[in-house]
Amino acid sequence: MDLNFTDSENAFRQECRAWLEANVPSEPLPSGDTKEGFALHLEWEHKLFDAGWAAVSWPKQYGGREATLFEWLIFEEEYYRVGAPSRVTQNGIFLLAPTLFEFGTDDQKERILRPMARGDVAWGQAWSEPNAGSDLASLKSTARRVEGGWRLTGQKTWSTRAVFCDMAYGLFRTDPEQARHRGLTYFMFPLHAEGVTVRGVDRLDGDEGFAEIFLEDVFVPDSEIIGEVDKGWGVAMATTSSERGLSLRSPGRFMATATRLIDLYHRYRDRSDPVLRDQVIQAWMDAQVYRWFTFQTVTRMAQGESIGPDSSMNKVFWSEMDVRTHETALAMIGDALELDEGSDGAVDGGHWMKGFQFALAGPIYAGTNEIQRNIIAERVLGLPRK
């Protein structure tokens, strides 16, 4: 065990820090879940990519730095420490890209990865359907074989930022004779093509961060399938652990939130009682614990182990920690908590209420925490399915 960073890891941190401090916008960008905010966030992504920071762990040929997983965690710590903009490219670089690296053809990787990481092509996910949420395998959208490709028909929903995106990916039923997770295929499809309608849905926090996607005989060529026809479930599941696990929510984000919470406590300590004080301490400790847990996980990955269902523990922990931390912050602010973003008297620009509402989504997206607990019980503890 050696919990010191190596010299080269420390040098990497210095390099990240220097670049970020010199380049991160001094004023926070408007929310990336609004039209104008999204465009500004994409500009930021261009800048990140051009300097080689958009996807540090990727191979150099796709614009990465071939950073180790530990270096990636360091990058994330530095990124959130300086309060850099949220990553509107994350559905591409953290969710689709791992799938492409594992299952994609050379042509797909060549074609898709760089524009994705630069934010030239924005990607949204299209997993859920109106009647297929937690029970994703019951999805009904279909892909019908036609000359030279496929025709997609159906409805997808809760697609993050799809109203601003260019492309999306999801599962479609290619073999109607087969049930549930068999006979599904993993497709990438354009959002501006004929037959596609994207309708924005306002989220709890008021931003148009969700979308419904309606598809009617939308043509996609064979080259837009990832993996084999009818084998899409395995392709999708192989990389869900990256979503639930650390790539979606690295410790740096929560350490930064805990640091801001301590700062808030110093400003509002007159209003705090010992219970709130304990909750602040707990929030800081939870972020530390998540960091050490992640270093342990990444060590296992670096040794070639696959993490698999253990990633569900990660997801439950960070999502519920994030809610608690924001609840603590709101309890300190008192009745000013209801002041929305843009109100003059809002504490820290209304950031804590906004963050709280965003945190509340954590136990729901990327597989609800109830589903995660089922996975933990069945696949880690070995309890019977039925």
Partner: protein, 337 residues
């Protein structure tokens, strides 16, 4: 950065695990509960033969000069088996303390036997009233009024107290604080006892991880075996979610203990903050797992006949020993706020 134990550390864990599987079945712990400690004494002897009891002593003293980090996995196994006895006192705290602060005569008399497993050390910190395992120990290292003493148990008086964990042989100690028992006055015994406190808290946290793991194993097994409504109760989501929560608590506590072991072994600045995190999370996880394991067991878990209770009571006692959550949280609070 590498957050993993070495092959040697895992081998030592496996050795301890095998000894305990062979010699420390729940019946052995139960016998200690009922006043028949011969079985657990025999386990101590076997552990001494493997070198575990003397592992923290210097090589000159017949040990392996092993660190706090090396101790973590063996202590986790000891918690898993609920082996009673002053193992943290003797191995993690007592032997290094005696080597550093004992007079030549004290070391001559106690160090060799302690390393060989023939003498058991119990450490009593300045403000500590309740002392487990004193009655069956051989020597006490006591901090009283700022002075350090090395007192043979035969020359101290011990008034027994009843612990809910009967195997813990709880008592209060009294002795004549005379010069003949004093430890070296040319070393900073206050600092050495302070270091001992950190080691005691860390060692207790490591045991707690093992205690949690055992209770969870019992509960998972029970949930697989016990059938109601024509199927195992573990097929019910309500049971699954309890056990999943228990696993999450336990698995997030684990790296805090490993981290604290490393911090102490490498003497990093603020290592005591890491020890506090370890003690808080390991204690909270063990108490949480205890509650969930009991609920999953149902009525049978609420009996003395079921082994679970011995681990539950160990969890409660250890979670409060060497600084409870409130104590350690306050220490963290002073550091960060």
């Amino acid at each position: 950065m590498r957050f993993a134990f070495t092959d040697d550390q895992k081998m030592l864990r496996d050795t301890v695990r095998e000894v305990l599987q062979r010699e420390c079945a729940p019946e052995v712990v139960r016998a200690a509960w009922e006043g028949r400690p011969e079985g657990v004494r025999a386990v101590w002897d076997t552990l001494a033969e493997t070198g575990v009891i003397g592992m923290t002593a210097s090589e000159d003293a017949g040990g392996m000069a092993m660190s706090e980090l090396d101790l973590i996995l063996p202590l986790e196994e000891i918690g898993y088996a609920a082996l009673p006895g002053p193992i943290v006192d003797t191995v993690a705290v007592g032997i290094p303390l005696l080597e550093a602060a004992g007079t030549d005569a004290q070391k001559e008399r106690w160090l060799g036997p302690a390393v060989a497993g023939e003498a058991r050390i119990v450490v009593v910190f300045e403000d500590q009233a309740l002392v487990p395992y004193a009655a069956s120990a051989d020597v006490l290292l006591v901090q009283r009024g700022g002075t350090a003493y090395c007192v043979p148990v035969a020359e101290a008086s011990i008034s027994p107290e009843q612990s809910v964990d009967r195997a813990r042989e709880l008592g209060r100690i009294a002795f004549e604080a005379s010069a003949q028992y004093q430890m070296r006055d040319d070393v900073d015994t206050a600092s050495l006892f302070a270091l001992g406190r950190e080691r005691a808290a860390l060692g207790t946290a490591a045991q707690l991880i093992g205690v949690s793991r055992r209770m969870l194993d019992m509960a998972v097994q029970y949930a697989k075996d016990r059938e109601q409504f024509g199927k195992p109760i573990g097929a019910q989501q309500a049971i699954k979610h309890r056990l999943a929560n228990a696993l999450i608590e336990q698995e997030f506590a684990r790296p805090t203990v490993y981290r604290a072991g490393w911090s102490m072994a490498t003497s990093v600045r603020d290592a005591e903050i890491d020890v506090s995190l370890a003690k808080i999370y390991a204690g909270q996880a063990a108490k949480f797992v205890a509650k969930e394991a009991l609920q999953v067991h149902g009525a049978i878990g609420y009996t003395i006949e079921c082994d679970l209770h011995m681990w539950m009571k160990r969890a409660w006692a250890l979670a409060a020993a060497h600084g409870d959550a409130a104590y350690h949280r306050e220490r963290v609070g002073r550091h960060i706020l």
